[in-house]
Amino acid sequence: MSTQTVLTSYIQQEFVRGRKELQPHDDLLNTGILNSLGILKLVSFIEDRFDIQIPDEDIVFENFQSIHSLSEYLESR
């Protein structure tokens, strides 16, 4: 499964919960899909699922704004 698919599936399941069909470029932060705790939970999931450590300095708006931006960030590592 691609990184984007894994992320979409997780965010859809944990945060959206069937309210809408998530698109890769949907704004996760400004629409309230991800709040402060949501970002922290998502970071935990990513680290466990992909067996990586996300440096604190990479937990920024630009990387978490959408599934697309997050996928791009993860694939660049």
Partner: protein
């Protein structure tokens, strides 16, 4: 270190439930004494007893909780501010406020229904006042408070970027002034000229808590520098936390004596605030230390808002049920606290689990119920 914030939230929500269970412990100790002893109420004979100091010790220990929540919320504002923008987007602030306000409103309405069934009636203005000031339930002041802080974010975020030292000093001074007013009021030494300023001191109003949120934003923007400082000072911070905890216990006894009252409702003091700051920084400084049940704590941390919303009603109903069905338990504080805390945490978590199952009809509305 950022993952540590989820654990801090988990610890903080346990602390919140403990703190409010202790409130019911005081109720049992002072106002429900006639249900298990032949006395009139209020009865303060148990002040100075083992049970009283048990409650006081836990109460002092967990006083970091609200500062921790506000700190994490402020930190998130720093994360959520685009590097290329000078300020946080109003769309994001709106989303955060909606995420808080809708569940808060729904749970408040539920509590209004319970109040109504108990014969407590309010006018429309009365209900509105309860909502705006967070007085629907004792813990609910936090939501109006956090909404105000989010609305202040467009001022705080640029200030944190441009001159974080000035921001921290300014917000610390404001908070110190509020604490001073509270001190003077408690011990009956508030000058007449300063009495009008007491309108600034309620828990739901931002001045008394501004520093924590601002500190979260500042640290969010300066995390690398903070890590270096924390690495050098972690044992000192731990020592401060322990000392300030002990001093906070002594301070409250002195305040109680100075007030000439047999008992006064808990109020935050300057030493409490210093302890909370030390606790939070110590927790972050020891970010490599393994915490038991970390995964569970993190899970509870991610569900902290839902637990926060639901636990108040659970504690209230459980305490009142015990008072009616098994009043002798009210005199067994250790047991009473355990009986409160377990459902206080478990029932909100159960409700959230049930609401989140695949076949649950309320699953699409989970965010509106539990945040």
């Amino acid at each position: 270190m950022i993952r540590r914030l989820l654990l801090l939230n988990g610890l903080a929500i346990i602390a919140v439930v403990l703190n409010h269970a202790i409130g019911w412990g005081y109720t049992a100790m002072f106002w429900w004494t006639d249900r298990y002893a032949a006395v009139t109420v209020p009865n303060y004979a148990q002040i100075g007893s083992f049970d009283y100091y048990l409650l006081r010790t836990i109460e002092q220990l967990v006083i970091f909780a609200v500062p921790a929540f506000l700190f994490v919320s402020g930190f998130f504002m720093a994360i959520a501010t685009n590097r290329s923008r000078a300020n946080v987007a109003w769309a994001l602030i709106g989303a955060r406020i909606r995420g808080l306000a809708i569940p808060y409103l729904l749970w408040s309405i539920l509590i209004f229904v319970v109040m109504f069934l108990e014969g407590q009636r309010q006018s429309a203005t009365g209900y509105l006042r309860l909502l705006i000031t967070g007085r629907t339930a004792p813990p609910y002041y936090f939501v109006p408070l956090l909404i105000q802080l989010y609305l202040l974010s467009p001022l705080l975020v640029p200030a944190a970027r441009k001159n974080w030292k000035l921001l921290l000093i300014f917000t610390a001074i404001i908070q110190l002034c509020i604490r001073t007013l509270s001190y003077l009021n408690i011990i009956g030494a508030l000058p007449l000229a300063l009495r009008p300023l007491m309108v600034l001191t309620p828990g739901w109003f931002f001045p008394g808590h501004l520093f924590w949120f601002a500190a979260g934003i500042v640290i969010g923007f300066n995390l690398d520098s903070l890590k270096l400082i924390l690495a050098r000072t972690k044992w000192m911070l731990l020592a401060f936390a322990l000392i300030l905890f002990a001093l906070g216990m002594v301070e409250w006894e002195m305040i109680l004596r100075a007030s000439s009252e047999p008992w006064i409702a808990p109020a935050q003091t300057l030493l409490d605030n210093l302890y909370a700051a030390s606790f939070i920084l110590t927790f972050l400084a020891f970010s490599d230390a393994k915490i038991p049940f970390a995964s569970q704590l993190g899970e509870w941390g991610s569900r902290s808002f839902g637990i926060y919303l639901a636990h108040a009603l659970v504690l209230q109903l459980t305490a009142r049920a015990i008072a009616v069905l098994a009043p002798s338990l009210l005199s067994q504080q250790l047991l009473f606290q355990a009986i409160l805390i377990i459902p206080g945490l478990a029932i909100p978590l159960l409700l959230m689990s049930l609401a989140n199952t695949e076949k649950s009809p309320v699953r699409p509305y989970f965010q509106y119920l539990f945040g």
